[in-house]
């Protein structure tokens, strides 16, 4: 009972799942596979942290995927070092922002930080718009962010005519693929170490994602802002009467969500080495919301922890990885993922009830 209500429940579940499957899927515990699981985890974690804030105020942000796609394009069109007219000459940005010599910031020394700053401002603006529409006009978050999702992703596709923008600077790509510490587990007397036997231990995405998680954790649990976020999610009327600046909190929370999606866009697009308008389409949103809910953050608001989301994302990525190793088709994988999310939502209801009964 206590285990079931513990913060670490999902971590234990993941570990149990891992050790139960290792005998059947020996490749699962390969260092290469583990490095792969982790590298899949970091970008999703950053985006899911944003979603955690939104779910905590009983909202939902469907526009995160479109923000990922759009901001990846924004950065790429500013930073590309060259571009091929065969691919992009039909795009409306061709000749204005992007030319054969690449984007306006492609060959400057301060280009990368400036481009990242611009993409984060763009992301923040989209999030602030969501939050403003929701707080000021009392529109449902589902509706507002659905519309944002449709409009922003359509606009991103329009900008490049659905093409990817490649040729990103090396330094930028490092953010998504670079190692800081690597390990070699092979024989010591080898004269040349083969590349595929070097495993990433600490990577740039890992450092970025963990930093975001720590800042988010402190922000949500140990600041005035965080306490007020919980208050809005637990009882909005009571929060308003108690002097919580409810509207400001809503705008800020949706802004945080979009900024997290933008940081996620840096990690995803640098891994892909391209800005891609459709980067956050398909089942991306399912992964984000699913992982967050599996972690234990409630869809009803008022209940959310960053550590839960870390474990939820870990479990979700592990699940996807094992299903891939089982050679299941993508249809089957989505069916299993869907069922797991339903189970998590059910678990949320049970946990809430159990907690109330224990306190009654």
């Amino acid at each position: 009972m206590r285990l079931f209500l513990s913060d670490y429940f999902v971590l234990y579940l993941s570990l149990a799942y891992f050790f139960a499957l290792v005998p059947f899927l020996p490749t699962l515990s390969n260092p290469a596979n583990l490095a792969n699981v982790l590298s899949n985890m970091w970008p999703l974690l950053v985006v899911a942290i944003g979603q955690t804030f939104v779910l905590t105020i009983a909202g939902i942000d469907l526009s995160q995927g479109s923000v990922v796609g759009f901001t990846s394009v924004v950065a790429a069109m500013l930073l590309a070092t060259t571009a091929s007219p065969d691919v992009l000459s039909n795009a409306p940005i061709w000749g204005i922002i992007l030319t054969e010599e690449g984007g306006p910031l492609g060959h400057t020394s301060f280009g990368i930080p400036l481009a990242i700053l611009i993409m984060i401002l763009v992301g923040a603006a989209i999030g602030a718009f969501n939050g403003f529409a929701i707080a000021q006009f009392q529109m449902p978050p589902f509706m507002v962010t659905l519309v944002t999702m449709i409009v922003i992703s359509a606009f991103a596709i329009f900008l490049t005519q659905s093409e990817n923008i490649r040729n990103l600077p090396e330094q930028y790509i490092l953010l998504g693929k670079g190692d800081i510490v690597s390990i070699y587990l092979g024989a010591q007397d080898e004269s040349r170490i083969p590349r595929r036997e070097i495993y990433s231990l600490i990577t740039y995405p890992m450092v970025i994602a963990i930093s975001v998680a720590i800042v988010a954790h402190l922000l949500l649990n140990r600041t005035v802002f965080g306490k007020q976020v919980f208050a809005v999610g637990t009882n909005r009327k009571a929060a308003e009467i108690s002097g919580v600046p409810v509207r400001r909190i809503i705008v800020l929370v949706f802004t945080i969500s979009a900024v997290c999606a933008t940081i996620g866009a840096i990690l995803y697009s640098t891994r892909l080495e391209a800005g891609r308008p459709t980067l956050g389409e398909g089942n991306f949103l399912l992964d984000v919301i699913g992982a967050t809910v599996i972690g234990g953050t409630s869809l009803f608001g008022g209940k959310g922890k960053i550590i839960w989301t870390v474990f939820g994302v870990f479990f979700f990525v592990l699940l996807s990885n094992t299903l891939n190793l089982m050679n299941l088709s993508s249809f089957h994988i989505d069916m299993v993922k869907g069922s797991v999310i339903v189970a998590a939502a059910l678990l949320d209801v049970w946990r809430t009830r159990l907690m109330r009964e224990m306190n009654a």
Partner: protein, 509 residues
């Protein structure tokens, strides 16, 4: 045994434990057919648990129940309904988007050729409504009915299902005095029809007036039981709380001071308030009495900046207030709302989070700076012992687990860290038991003695008369008059509240 013919519902050593803690302890009791039995006890005395067992919501841990002499062990609320037990709850269980007739027939529509037979439904509903003298068409949406009328619809539903035992759980909390009088007539009529009634209420005078017998529970045990003649209100209270209460209301410990704290001039909002003016002095408990729809709670919301107003000024400590709730809190206002669950508390959050919510901005230098958690813990712990919130660990325990009285102390307590000057208390003792009521009055007195002003809004005449220094009466958004000094006479206050012009002219309008 003659018991079989006379007893409708019996309990034999009935016991219910939650996590090993008894909520109802070995209860032995018979409920006679055709009588009104008043059930009283403080919150947590075991009334709800007992009702849940009768209604099949929770099973007893041990012991037995009997229905007409037969062993009765309901496995679900459906079993209870089938036998003829009906509940009229505090929160009504009606579908407000359906008509009266649809609500009554919702668990089994009459059909003809597979379609709902609306004519029969309407006819039967009409007959039930006439029986209860509810003057409404069966096709009226429940949404359009007043709380008292909705309750009559619930009773009609019970009659439609041939209920023999009707259990009323705090039925008068949201009723006006007129609606209450009508409910009592209905209960008398049900009794005349040989229905058996269990009547649960905190309002002891109502219980005394209605019941044939009285049952008093304390800490899960039956502490007194007998014909109503043997009880008077002091005896009921003594039995309920297990000790003598020196009085229902504490003595005022200080007199109001001279200076005006809050001044309201010509406050108007079309359809809500019409030219309302009054002053509250420092150290004064200023009572506001009005019936439902008199504008009393609406005025409180306007004063606190939650709703707009068309004209008038509100001055606190000499500064004219305009703008939002946050500005008014900064200026020194505190608002304890009528509905503490919906508007006062974060029910699933800890006591500490609730107590520190209003003042949270004091504990961090900027909104994103780390909070001074030690200071929060120290302040809220001090507050807990100061206003005597009975709870375990305030950092862990959620407010939901507290009794009504302690929940209300948390709602008042969350304002105290900010040291406001004016408290608006809207129905601060609603749903709170006798002992805790006294503590809330004492707290109001203490705050006033410290020089704060208190706007005390209530629909309970006795407490208005018992705790206030002055009493203003409203009707339909207008001030009908103000009584400047005790003793306050019930009938005079009520006459004003019903909109009759004051004949007594100690009243200054």
């Amino acid at each position: 045994m003659s018991r079989q013919t006379q007893t409708l519902l019996g309990f034999d050593r009935l016991r219910k434990e939650y996590f090993g803690v008894p909520a109802v302890t070995d209860l032995v009791l018979d409920v006679p057919v055709g009588q009104v039995v008043g059930v009283i006890g403080e919150n947590g005395a075991g009334k709800s648990t007992l009702m849940n067992m009768i209604g099949g919501v929770v099973p007893p841990t041990s012991g037995q129940m009997f229905w007409k002499g037969q062993a009765y062990a309901p496995r679900s609320p459906g079993d209870a309904t089938m036998l003829g037990i009906a509940f009229i709850h505090q929160e009504l269980n009606l579908f407000t988007n359906l008509t009266i007739a649809e609500n009554i027939f919702v668990d089994g529509f009459p059909t003809r050729f597979g379609l709902i037979d609306r004519a029969e439904m309407r006819g039967k509903t009409q007959a039930l409504l006439e029986q209860l003298s509810l003057d409404a068409s069966p096709d009226t949406m429940v949404d359009h009915l007043a709380p008292g009328e909705r309750q009559l619809v619930e009773i009609a539903k019970a009659l439609h299902r041939d209920a023999e035992l009707i259990i009323f759980d705090e039925p008068t909390t949201s009723l006006t005095p007129r609606e209450t009088a009508r409910l009592f007539e209905t209960i008398e009529r049900l009794k005349a029809d040989h229905k058996t009634i269990l009547y649960i209420s905190h309002i002891l005078s109502d219980v005394e007036r209605l019941s044939d017998r009285i049952v008093v529970l304390r800490d899960g045990e039956l502490v007194a039981e007998g014909p109503t003649d043997e009880f008077d209100i002091p005896r009921m209270i003594t039995a309920m709380i297990g000790r003598e209460l020196s009085g229902l209301f504490p003595k005022r410990s200080a007199k109001p001071r001279g200076e005006t704290l809050l001044s309201v001039q010509g406050l108007s909002q079309p359809g809500v308030l019409d030219n309302v003016s009054f002053d509250i002095r420092a150290g004064e408990i200023f009572g506001l009495f009005g019936l439902m729809g008199s504008g009393r709670s609406e005025m409180a919301r306007i004063l606190f900046g939650l709703d707009p107003y068309a004209a008038g000024t509100v001055t606190l400590n000499g500064a004219t207030l305009a703008g939002s709730v946050r500005d008014r809190i900064r200026a020194g206002m505190a608002f304890v709302t009528e509905d503490r669950r919906a508007e006062g508390l974060m029910m699933d959050a800890s006591i500490m989070d609730n107590l520190s919510l209003v003042s949270i901005e004091r504990f961090g230098r900027t909104p994103v700076a780390l909070l001074d958690e030690k200071a929060i813990a120290a302040k809220t712990e001090a507050l807990k012992s100061d206003i005597q919130i009975k709870a375990g660990s305030i950092a862990v325990q959620p407010v939901r687990s507290l009794s009504g009285g302690n929940q209300q102390k948390v709602v008042i307590g969350k304002w105290l860290i900010n040291e406001p000057a004016l408290f608006i208390l809207d129905e601060p003792t609603r749903g709170v038991d006798v002992g805790a009521k006294y503590e809330i009055y004492a707290l109001a007195d203490r705050l006033a003695a410290a020089g704060n002003g208190i706007l005390f809004i209530s629909s309970e005449l006795e407490e208005i008369a018992g705790v206030c220094d002055r009493v203003m009466v409203m009707n339909r958004g207008e001030v009908m008059g103000t009584f400047d000094a005790p003793p306050f006479v019930d009938t005079e206050i009520l006459a004003l509240a019903f909109g009759e012009q004051a004949k007594t002219r100690e009243v200054s309008a």
